[in-house]
Symmetry: C2
Subunit: 355 residues, 2 copies
């Protein structure tokens, strides 16, 4: 895969997951005042965060929620139950602080960053709206490539720069979210190609489309894969074929977060498509990812299995916006607190198991 | 079932789950800016909390974590991997703020109340330790009743009084936890009797006991059920037969919390035994309960199914202390925030589904 000089440089500088710190965290978990293993997945999570950050006493607060929004030309094909203008309307809702993701972010003291990664409609300037200037959404991938390869690279670079910038502002963990009517169609195409799955197994109901719309959605994806014939290892080729702009941006956020040793919490189906592209660009970067939840979209499980990620929550959520990822933030914080704030059996003078 | 005058009076005054407020919450969920149902279990949770509190805009913060500790005479039978003195040692650890439950409570700004419901060893006075003076733990139920029926009633009344008192102090939701070496043995006996299950299906590995100890644990429970022959509908009879004191106390906490319209988050196996007893005393009180998680103890699922409760988390935790319940507090808060802080489609001027 040929990458731009900027992306090549970024990847060459990415730190490795720190296995020795992770091993030290494993040892400490086994000495804490609880039966070994009794904190279940929280123990594994604390060990992973130690390896990501390179610190036994990891600092992962405050977290930020990044919600990237973009429009999808494929909506012209009638693949969604909602009209395309909802993307911009929901961005306005985010900026007003009255969407689900705002409530969920307030619930865990996370800052919300709203990113216009490609909105066609007018959206008023707002101090919380970060504009990228990468055009007005993807082209209809049923008819042409969603974007040019150069654009695909630029949007990934934009995401990486954003993650680095918010790290400089003091953020220590990011959770990813998206908004884009039509983006589960793009995600299904990406997931089908990368995981070598059939479009029908990768395609879900999105915002609860009916049977006819679902069949149309599958057909659009099948025909687009046949038309673009993407190489399943070529992240830039896949992104430029199907989009969306927010997918590329979130892929870049993952690269940028890893470069700063920040854990990245994934949300639902579109963010898992971004994660698959990041793993293609930089194999092993999945070690920096945490699956916040498993969404009701059936293809989400395909993507998480491919990345060997086990979701923390399974609450039948299928909203997107980063809602499942934000809900997982307190769980990740809890895991790190247990590792760092609990006494060992020796420190607390608690008797161990009978011998 | 004959109950003490105090318990009879308490139960007669318990408020009903408010179905009309719950219905109003359901209607509001369907108008919020998201595809209907897309917040999954969070929607059901917000509706339940509305019905519990009788308020659409429910106030459930701050929450408290109640950890009740007691000793179990049945430990004499060799049913646990840890020595009995660990109960008191862990109470000291709780008071020092260095156990898992302390870290988890800090993670969600919940206050921790440690209750000595029956500890035999000396434990120094501490401003955070609430002593009940109900003796020094249960008798060995392999040989005699765990406690007298009058004690069983008194400890339940003590739990109810505690929940009411902390409500007066401003707490608006409680999560339950326990500490007591040997208490999964008592819990298994209670669950087997109430759910009419075999002791072997209700008995788990507790703190990871070996095969021989597990068989002994099952045998002790089988023989004790044959000896005491409890009536499966008689909560006081079951509690007095098997204990423990903390189980009775937590059962009382549920009654007291419901009397103040506070949601109650259950933790693992021993708290589910307390919940089964509360449901026997006051059928329908399960509507005030939220299952924080499903523990790795196999019998926990039997109890939750009997109560028709669906756990929020499933992270292979098996620690107790209220750890799984405390981890669920932010999720319940999140559900209520979404219901109250999100805009409707009309308020936000977001277009609905295509018609």
């Amino acid at each position: 895969m040929n990458l731009s000089p900027q992306l090549t440089a970024l990847i060459s500088q990415l730190p490795a997951f720190d296995g020795s710190v992770a091993a030290a965290a494993r040892s400490r978990q086994d000495e804490l005042t609880k039966p070994q293993g009794s904190l279940g997945e929280l123990e594994a999570l604390s060990i992973q965060v130690a390896g990501i950050t390179g610190c036994l006493a990891a600092e992962i607060e405050p977290a930020a929620v990044i919600v990237a929004a973009a429009e999808h030309g494929v909506c012209e094909e009638g693949v969604s139950a909602f009209p395309a203008e909802v993307t911009t309307q929901m961005v306005t809702n985010f900026l007003h602080g009255t969407a689900a993701i705002n409530a969920l972010a307030r619930n865990c003291n996370a800052e919300v960053f709203i990113v216009d990664a490609g909105i066609s409609s007018e959206c008023p300037d707002h101090k919380k709206l970060h504009r990228l200037g990468f055009g007005k959404g993807s082209a209809n991938f049923a008819k042409q490539a969603a974007m040019k390869k150069g654009e695909a690279e630029s949007i990934i670079e934009g995401g990486a720069a954003c993650a680095k910038k918010i790290h400089q502002q003091g953020i220590r963990m990011i959770s990813l979210g998206e908004m884009g009517i039509g983006n589960t169609t793009a995600a299904a195409a990406v997931v089908a190609v990368v995981t070598d799955s059939s479009p029908s197994s990768a395609t879900g109901r999105g915002t609860m489309i009916d049977d006819d719309t679902w069949r149309k959605k599958v057909s659009v994806i099948e025909q687009a894969i046949a038309k673009h014939q993407p190489d399943s290892k070529d992240a830039i080729g896949i992104l430029s074929a199907f989009g969306g702009y927010e997918t590329g941006f979130l892929c870049g956020c993952i690269l940028g977060a890893a470069s700063c040793r920040m854990p990245v919490i994934l949300d639902g189906y579109p963010t898992s498509a971004a994660a698959l592209l990041a793993e293609l660009i930089c194999p092993g970067i999945k070690n920096f990812m945490i699956a916040g939840h498993c969404s009701a979209e059936p293809g989400h499980r395909l993507a998480l299995d491919h990345l060997e990620l086990k979701p923390l929550l399974n609450l039948s959520m299928r909203l997107g916006e980063g809602s499942g990822a934000a809900l997982a933030i307190p769980i990740v914080n809890a895991a790190v607190r247990c590792l760092n704030e609990m006494a060992t059996f020796e420190e607390a003078a608690v008797a161990g198991r009978k011998t």
